[in-house]
Amino acid sequence: MTIAHHPDMATLIEYAAGTLDEAFAVTVSCHLEVCDQCRKSVRSAAALGGSFLCEETGVEPLGEGSFGRLLEKISAASETPHTAPDRVSELERGVTRGIPLALSGYLDTDLKSIRWKRIGPGVWQKPIPLSPGASSSLRLLRIAPGRGVPEHGHGGQEITLILSGAYRDEIGHFGPGDVADLDEHVEHKPQVVSDEDCICLAATEKPTRFKGIAGRLLQPFVGI
């Protein structure tokens, strides 16, 4: 897979710090499954974070007999046969279903059997429920060949990952694996350029910030 568009490095660092909200973290995670380069960056950022934590952390007294309990866990662990699932093959299974592993826990079907809801001419969506505390929204979008969405800005950060098909906008050509990591200042007008539908995963902030009629009208299209 040739990937031309990656998440912003600041986003990858936030992912590594564990502070990205759920929808964004899932979307970035899906990209990492197919992008060596970003996986490497996230690991470097994690090492940097580890170093900061080590330098700047105090000490906390341990529970009584802490080391003894640890040794018991160790002998229990070495007696249990190693049954950890083979995560790489798990990943491959997810990919053959057409769904990234990070998303597979949220969807019980493959991409072809999703029950889409039409939100405009040639545009469908499938909202993906997140944890109750999430302050972001996640959805799949499906757009027909040749179709696009009206020019729109964004009410906040928005990260879109292309799963299949392709679109083009003012920024460039986006194919499978590519990520559009846009902040609220970017306005764009994506147009699907593949022969097949373009399916993407879109993470947005909860649209509390959309105001006015224009915002309400465009709300269905937020996500791309």
């Binding site: 990492l32 906390e60 990943l91 597979s104 949220y106």
Partner: protein, 199 residues
């Protein structure tokens, strides 16, 4: 806001280097000889620190203690993998602790998604150890981080140690989100430049 001093005194640096070397030797013994005495010495030094770090997120001391023990179980099980790299023991242990903490936090939410950072890929597993953990000498990352301008150090500190999101950092410092992002990017770039080929 209190930000720990960016400069490590010369004497402290040497002491750190000695300690780091001692810890590398200990982890070598754990890896090769499954030496429980060496493991105990590492535990005595790192466990109270790891627990302090975990306590910030875990809320209860019991949970922090539990997760800390998990971290050291991983240290025991993965010591062999780590020993072949040239990295700092401290960074490695705290990276495990940080990953575990994020993992626990995610499991508390109703849906759990897979953390790719924990996953080993056929094509990058050997390299990842190298890239993530190697250093020509120990404490290299910490030394590079110490040379960061205060405003860059601050955003990295708030992100990893205080666990603030970038918008929270923007709010707290009273600066635009874009500025937080650019400082974060520049901090990472600067450190990468200093550790060329290492980080």
């Amino acid at each position: 806001m209190f930000i720990p001093s960016a400069t490590i005194p010369e004497r402290g640096m040497n002491a750190n280097a000695d300690l780091a070397q001692r810890h590398r030797a200990l982890i070598g013994r754990v890896a090769e000889d499954r030496d429980k005495e060496a493991f105990a010495e590492l535990f005595d030094w790192y466990a109270p620190r790891v627990k302090a770090m975990l306590l910030k997120q875990c809320g209860s001391s019991e949970m922090a203690e539990d997760v800390m023990q998990d971290v050291f179980l991983t240290v025991w099980l993965k010591a062999g993998q780590f020993a072949s790299s040239k990295g700092a023991v401290s960074t490695w242990i705290f990276t495990i602790a940080r990953n575990r903490r994020i993992d626990v936090f995610r499991k508390q939410s109703s849906r759990h998604y897979v953390d790719i950072g924990e996953m080993e890929f056929a094509d990058d597993a050997p390299e990842s150890e190298e890239v993530l953990l190697s250093g020509e000498q120990d404490s290299l990352i910490a030394q590079a981080a110490a040379t960061l301008p205060e405003e860059m150090r601050e955003v990295i500190h708030l992100a990893f140690v205080e666990e603030k999101s970038q918008s929270q950092i923007a709010g707290e410092l009273g600066i635009p989100l874009g500025t937080v992002k650019s400082r974060t990017r520049r901090a990472f770039e600067k450190i990468k430049q200093q550790l060329e080929g290492v980080l």
